[in-house]
């Protein structure tokens, strides 16, 4: 097979070709390894923080994943391989063990190709908070890929990796998938072990696939799910993950929430092109047999506010471990706060090691948890979270899935939102409610928007989000597969 034939294969097709003996596993790896080195570095897309030194895989071609190369978000601990969570405070850190999600994929036959760039500690929606510089969107290198799994999304969209592993706390898989024109799935909270993921907000963090199509997402998820003794919040998935083959949506009830649609003022204005692509997809769904129903999620407009209390609160606690003692950066005492000795070492190390967005969130979270403010912020936000989860439960009595645009806008220009934290946080408006409710949601590319933007001026990708009740991944992907086939999105324009 030629290089262009090889990179045209989806991960599912590549694995099948290797297992059938039609494609040499080493050839497959070699093609991606060359491409990753050529296009993934800081002088190009900057989507990788590390690319394997191995020019040949030591894989296992007969296992279910056929040795297909895998790109892994930087925040997964990978034994003896840099795992820095996009932060200077962990620069060069090589953990002594591997995250469960990664080792499960490796055991199933995936070959580690590279680690992907990300927002620092997964805090960001544009990949611009990375200590290793911003990732560039393969559709337009002057624009962001979204975040925080921006490196994973860009690598898959540009054909530098067949698929990638990411994490989603408030939208960090779905939003970059949308902005890069690929598929991203956030599983049910607890479906995949968090062991070995460098924690941001533990009650929300969840690992998931970023892939070229829905079938690849299902194949990856199948080999990730399961209870893990090392993560007490992980759960046994109630059924095997099946390969989606749906082509119709007969009888499927899709809910469009008033609060998560173009009518909602809280959404901050859906771009007309995004709204048009969303509406066109709803029409397609109807043609496939689905019915559309307007539903109410009364508390959804408050999800973002609750999230930006809860996630920073958890982050301020989780990131307390970066103190210059056990791993990572240590700075000598002598900060501007005048602290000396051990305390001075802590405060100076954290001053030097964390970037601006991470400091902001640590401060926000510490403030929200501090005496006198705890009830007004953290306590209230946890009550809002209860209401949001209830809203979804009620809605799912009337509809099978809830659909929204994944993001109100297409990919924006580098630097466009960096001076206004809340405007950046608004990127998560449509994805955060599902995260707070712990339910699965997928983003699939549904078209292009923006006259004159993107390759040939044809526009930039728009994402269509489908959310279902807890553990409904199989049904969500079945519906996504049917829509994907009808949409026929062409991602080739983004290939490097």
């Amino acid at each position: 097979m030629s290089e262009s034939q090889i990179i045209a294969l989806s991960a599912t097709e590549a694995a099948a070709a290797v297992i059938a003996g039609e494609l040499d596993e080493r050839e497959l790896y070699g093609v991606y390894h060359r491409r990753a080195r050529e296009h993934g570095g800081s002088d190009a897309l900057n989507c990788f923080t590390w690319v394997s030194e191995l020019s040949e895989p030591g894989g296992a071609p007969q296992r279910p994943l056929g040795g297909v190369p895998l790109a892994v978000k930087d925040l997964f601990c990978t034994k003896d391989v840099p795992s820095q969570s996009g932060s200077k405070i962990l620069e060069g850190y090589r953990p002594p063990y591997t995250a469960t999600a990664v080792s499960k994929l490796q055991q199933a036959g995936a070959t580690m190709l590279a680690k992907t760039n990300q927002d620092e500690f997964a805090m960001g929606s544009s990949n611009e908070s990375s200590a290793f510089g911003p990732v560039r969107n393969p559709w337009d290198r002057g624009r962001v890929p979204g975040g925080s799994s921006g490196g994973s999304a860009a690598a898959v969209a540009a054909g530098l990796a067949p698929w990638a592993l990411g994490t989603d706390t408030g939208g960090s898989i779905r939003q970059p998938a949308a902005l890069c024109g690929i598929v991203g799935l956030k599983p049910t909270y607890g479906a995949v072990s968090r062991y070995g993921m460098i924690a941001f907000a533990s009650s929300l963090d969840q690992a998931g696939p970023l892939t070229r199509n829905v079938a690849d997402a299902a194949l990856m998820l199948r080999h990730m799910v399961g209870q893990d003794e090392a993560d007490a919040t992980s759960l046994a998935f109630p059924e095997p993950i099946s390969v989606p083959d749906g082509v119709r949506l007969d009888g499927v009830r899709l809910g469009v929430a008033t609060q998560l649609s173009a009518e909602s003022e809280g959404a901050g204005g859906i771009e007309p092109g995004v709204a048009a692509a969303f509406e066109a997809t709803l029409k397609l769904a109807q043609e496939l047999g689905a019915s559309i129903k307007t539903i109410e999620l009364p508390h959804a407009p408050h999800a973002l506010a609750a999230y930006y209390v809860l996630a920073p609160a958890e982050c301020s606690s989780n990131l307390a471990r970066f103190d210059g003692v056990r791993y990572g950066l240590r700075a000598e005492p002598g900060g501007e706060d005048g602290e000396r000795g051990l305390l001075g070492m802590y405060t100076r190390t954290r001053h030097d090691g964390f970037g601006a967005e991470v400091k902001r969130r640590i401060m926000l979270g510490t403030y929200a948890l501090s005496a006198g403010y705890y009830d007004a912020y953290y306590g209230r936000a946890q009550r809002v979270r209860t209401k949001i989860a209830e809203d979804f439960k009620t809605a799912f009595q009337d509809v099978d899935f809830i659909v929204t645009p994944t993001s109100a806008t297409v990919a924006f220009e580098l630097g466009a939102l960096t001076d206004d934290p809340w405007a950046m946080y608004m990127n998560d408006y449509f994805t955060v409610p599902m995260s707070l409710a712990g339910i699965p949601a997928i983003s699939i590319p549904c078209g292009l928007a923006g006259d004159g933007l993107g390759p040939g001026g044809n526009g930039l990708p728009v994402g269509f989000q489908i959310a279902g009740p807890a553990f409904s991944e199989n049904r969500v992907m079945q519906a996504a597969h049917a829509l994907e086939a009808a949409i026929g999105f062409d991602s080739a324009a983004a290939f490097a």
């Binding site: 090589r94 002594p96 049910t188 607890g190 009650s203 919040t233 759960l235 408050h302 973002l304 506010a305 609750a306 930006y308 209390v309 103190d323 210059g324 003692v325 056990r326 791993y327 950066l329 240590r330 005492p333 900060g335 501007e336 706060d337 602290e339 000396r340 000795g341 051990l342 001075g344 070492m345 405060t347 100076r348 954290r350 001053h351 601006a356 400091k359 902001r360 640590i362 401060m363 926000l364 510490t366 403030y367 501090s370 007004a376 912020y377 209230r380 936000a381 946890q382 009550r383 809002v384 979270r385 209860t386 209401k387 989860a389 934290p421 809340w422 946080y425 707070l436 409710a437 712990g438």
Partner: protein
Amino acid sequence: MIERDEVLHVARLARLALSEQEIEAMQGELSKVLDHVAKIGELDLDGVPPSTHVVEITGALRPDEPRPCLPREVALASAPAVSDDGFLVPSPQA
């Protein structure tokens, strides 16, 4: 606007040294975000229990039995400074 002293108090709780520039920026940025976040204060949440875990979970306990852990030299390998068999840190009294 959040007071400068409040920023310094929170930074101290968070074990974070901030430069003059960062203190000033933090006052403005935290205030703006908290203004948006304050909207949850308008909701009637009387009698609503705070969320603890959104997906039903049972039996997260396992038997508390000793088992092997990371060897000491592996655990110490990434530390910025070690002394004998432990992590080396500056004296709190320094």
